[in-house]
């Protein structure tokens, strides 16, 4: 399938606290919001980096629009997306007691390691109503 077009509406720049891989989610470094690092599982992301970035270099972070991101699991269009390991994108879980930091919805499907388009729009939600 053709990858639908990326459309970036907002960017910021921050210095990379560690090496960054392209098309992965990044977050502000704890204790130093002037730097960024790759997101861990279900962490709240600032945005997505588009290029490989060396430690200490300034990185452009895409924070709005329809953004390319790398799939860490099989993705189906419409899935609510959260961050997996090392900044990859995975489908949110269904644990009733977990608050998921959703980062938007997939606009197309993807296999593991493929890129897909995410309609970036963060919010939080529990996986289910436990009652």
């Amino acid at each position: 399938m053709r990858l639908p077009g990326e459309s970036v509406t907002f960017t910021v720049t921050r210095r990379a606290a560690a090496a960054l891989m392209p098309h992965r989610f990044v977050r502000l470094k704890a204790g130093d919001p002037e730097q960024i690092q790759l997101c861990g599982s279900n962490e709240s992301a600032l945005g997505i980096v588009g290029f490989e970035i060396e430690t200490g270099s300034e990185a452009t972070i895409k924070c709005g629009g329809h953004l390319i991101v790398e799939a860490g699991t099989i993705i189906v269009a419409g899935d609510e997306i959260i961050c997996g390991v090392s900044g990859t994108a995975i489908k949110r879980g269904t644990s009733a007691t977990t608050r998921y930091n959703v980062l938007g919805r997939a606009l197309c499907g993807a296999s593991i390691g493929q890129w897909f388009i995410l309609a970036f729009g963060p919010y939080t939600v529990f996986g289910a109503n436990a009652s």
Binding site: M1, R2, P4, G5, S7, T9, G64, G65, H66, V76, A77, G78, E80, V102, R105, L107, C108, G109, A119, G121, Y123, V125, F126, A128, N129, A130, S131
Partner: protein, 135 residues
């Protein structure tokens, strides 16, 4: 009816081919079999990807708005300013329900009132939420 502020302000648009005829100012979703196409939202609480700006015939390219203060046709019961809006079974905007165990695919909050089949303005910023806490 209270005064309306029909100031449309679109921050983002994109285009996809219509898999079927699309009715303007209604909610559309990604086609499950071909993610390069869009369909009308056709089940209650569907997962929209935006609002189609102009009507489009099948196989024609359609313009979809998915950020900003966007016009949307109201469904049964209409909506009021401040309401959380979801899709009905025809891509119209209706007020989300309050079933505790249902996850509602909210597309944003209404900025104006609108009676059924009138056009209202919605602050489009999607999220999901349960209808209540059942505990």
């Amino acid at each position: 009816m209270a005064a309306k502020f029909l100031a449309k302000s679109v921050r983002h648009r994109f285009s996809r081919k219509a898999s079927e005829a699309l009715t303007e100012l209604r909610l559309v979703k990604i086609n499950g079999a071909d993610n390069e196409k869009v369909d009308m939202c056709d089940t209650a609480n569907d997962v929209p990807c935006g609002i189609v700006e102009f009507g489009a015939a099948a196989d024609k390219e359609a313009v979809i708005m998915d950020d900003g203060h966007l016009p949307l046709v109201a469904g049964s019961g209409g909506f009021s300013a401040g309401d959380e809006i979801v899709s009905d079974n025809a891509g119209k905007g209706v007020v989300r329900g309050s079933t505790a165990t249902t996850r509602y695919n909210v597309i944003g909050r209404a900025l104006t009132d609108a009676a059924e089949n009138e056009i209202g303005i919605v602050d489009y910023r999607p999220y999901t939420t349960f209808g209540g806490n059942a505990s």
